[in-house]
Amino acid sequence: MLELAIKGSKKYWVWILSLLAVMSIAFCFWLWQLSFGLGITGMSRDVSWGFYIAQFTFLVGVAAGGVMVVLPYYLHDYKAFGRITILGEFLAIAAVIMCLMFIIADLGQPMRALNVLLYPTPGSVLFWDMIVLNVYLLLNIIVGWNVIEAERNNVHYPSWIKVLAIFSIIWAPAIHTVTAFLYCGLPGRGFWLTAILAPRFLASAFAAGPALLILLCLIIRRVTKFDPGREQIQSLAKIVTYAIIINVFFFLCEIFVVFYSRIPSHMSHIKYLFFGLHGHAALVPWMWASMAFMVISIILLANPVTRKNEAVLAFACVILFIGTWIDKGLGMISGGFVPNPLHHVTEYIPTLPELVIALGVWATGFFVLTLLFKIAVTVKEEVSGV
């Protein structure tokens, strides 16, 4: 089936080549980082995780979000989603690949990465994160590939695939829960030290992932002959609506606990993010934009009239995606480090090389996504004979 990915229109090749161009520029920057060290990033002794780990965290969410099309189809026999489960699974593959690349980009000694296997340490959450992410990747590759191959050959997928698909449904929340546990089990970081962190991660994941999927469906309908379907998009939109409302609700729960208890080590991080602390306020406009985007998207999504208008729906999904990205991909990680454990304020701003490398990883993710979607969509076009 791979051959389907190398037969495309001129536009397809322009897109592929532009992604490859971004990837190769970023690769050069990564080589620079490899030779100089992580000092080319904006990270410091005080803010020791930055943009890379934040992107990783956000993308684990996108990967887990793919399950929102897989679950209704396999567990509730919601037939309409049968048309697009493959898109959810392939999105998950691309997202997990980005996650793994961001981890590698963040390591000080990437060539020693396999030490995690050589000296397995079950007490470390990072060890488990490595396991859950790789297993989730494998599950999605096996299930996705077999399902689309069966569809191409006009046969039903083998029955053991359903077992794996259901297993992957259980696994999806696990990847994001374990990722939240990386942060929320650390004693000295008040911002993350909250039991609501994993549920919050999941809620924002189940909003951002399917929102991206809606946008991808709309793009596919426009650039190919395959229509993912209006009903499918509307069902996804309802899932996104519930998830984003729950996400904002969880955030407000956190705000209540922190500001009613008035424990300074928990308040200071949120104060830094939303109001600035001791004159440092780099993230303030971003955080308020994030809040505004999420609230506006709720208004547009909760109202059936606006939700059913696909142009408005697309707009709502875009701002929701940006809003949740700022929340997790920008504020969530550096917010936990500012102020530091001694309550000093060292701000973090990603540097240009850091952003280019991150962009390169995103480009790689979209490269993988494009190839996989091209294969899936071509098979769908072939089967329906359009």
């Binding site: 100089f36 992580l38 000092g39 002794r45 020791s48 000080g108 020693r112 650390l186 004693p187």
Partner: protein, 261 residues
């Protein structure tokens, strides 16, 4: 076809023989005692030992930053700590800070003037239940039986999970090659490479040859290291006769650095 199968069988046979005889040869090689293969490292008889190493810092015994500078310099010099020009890349094993930052949970508006303006020494707390050791995915940071928390610079993958886990901000990361920033290299102690984490090691290398930690030695009695579980030790006497505080005890990490204020 025939030929290749035959040669395959030959190689397989020889390999099987090789694997099969290895344990036998091992048994002979170890002189009849086949159970114990590992070589034993003889302990230095002069080494300083303790059941649980700990430190007391008597803040009454110094007055200004000037008094503490030699302590920090002694550590920096012995451990090849680089002096980076960019603050983001800073490496610190032992450093000084104000009371309100060191004891974030004890600070109040009416702290007396002496304490308010007194510099406090900060270093790794060599915790009883270290969060960094729990977080490390490769056991590159580990706690010894005598309580000292150490780093294996060669195993560290540079994920910096330990830095996020440490509630005391005691760890530093080599954001770039530190070697060009070391003024005078001490050949007795390894320099580090880029991409690994480091921190205070309680001068484990000095204890092993019977010397007290460099900071203790340079402190004119303001710092005392000793065995927490030895009732006769000097630090136990200090702890018995003075009221001491520790950093963030409420987190339950069990820091081993005690301060007399």
């Amino acid at each position: 076809m025939e030929n290749s199968r035959r040669s395959f069988l030959k190689i397989a046979g020889i390999s099987a023989l090789g694997f099969g005889t290895k344990p036998v040869l091992n048994a002979f090689a170890s002189g009849g005692n086949s159970e114990k293969h590992e070589a034993e490292i003889q302990k230095n008889p002069a080494a300083l030992k303790a059941k649980r190493w700990a430190m007391v810092i008597d803040t009454r015994k110094y007055k200004s930053e000037e008094d503490l500078k030699p302590i920090i310099e002694a550590c920096d010099k012995i451990h090849n700590i680089p002096k980076h020009t960019n603050k983001r890349h800073e490496i610190m094993w032992i450093w000084i800070d104000e009371f309100k930052y060191v004891f974030t949970n004890q600070e109040h508006e009416f702290v007396d003037d002496r304490v308010k303006h007194l510099p406090f020494l900060v270093l790794c707390n060599h915790c009883e239940k270290p969060a960094c050791v729990r977080a490390c995915p490769t056991k590159a940071t580990f706690k010894r039986d005598d309580g000292i928390v150490l780093m294996d610079f060669h195993r560290c993958i540079g994920c910096r999970f330990c830095m996020a886990a440490c509630p005391y901000g005691s760890r530093s990361f080599n954001f770039r090659d530190p070697r060009p920033f070391i003024k005078e290299e001490n050949k007795e102690f390894p320099t580090r490479m880029k991409g690994v984490v480091e921190k205070c090691n309680f001068c484990a290398e000095r204890l092993a040859v019977g010397k007290m930690p460099a900071c203790v030695e340079a402190s004119n009695g303001a710092m005392v290291a000793g065995d927490l579980y030895d009732p006769e030790s000097e630090i136990r006497k200090l702890l018995k006769n003075n009221y001491t505080i520790r950093r963030k005890p409420e987190l339950g990490a069990g820091p081993a650095i005690y301060y007399i204020v």
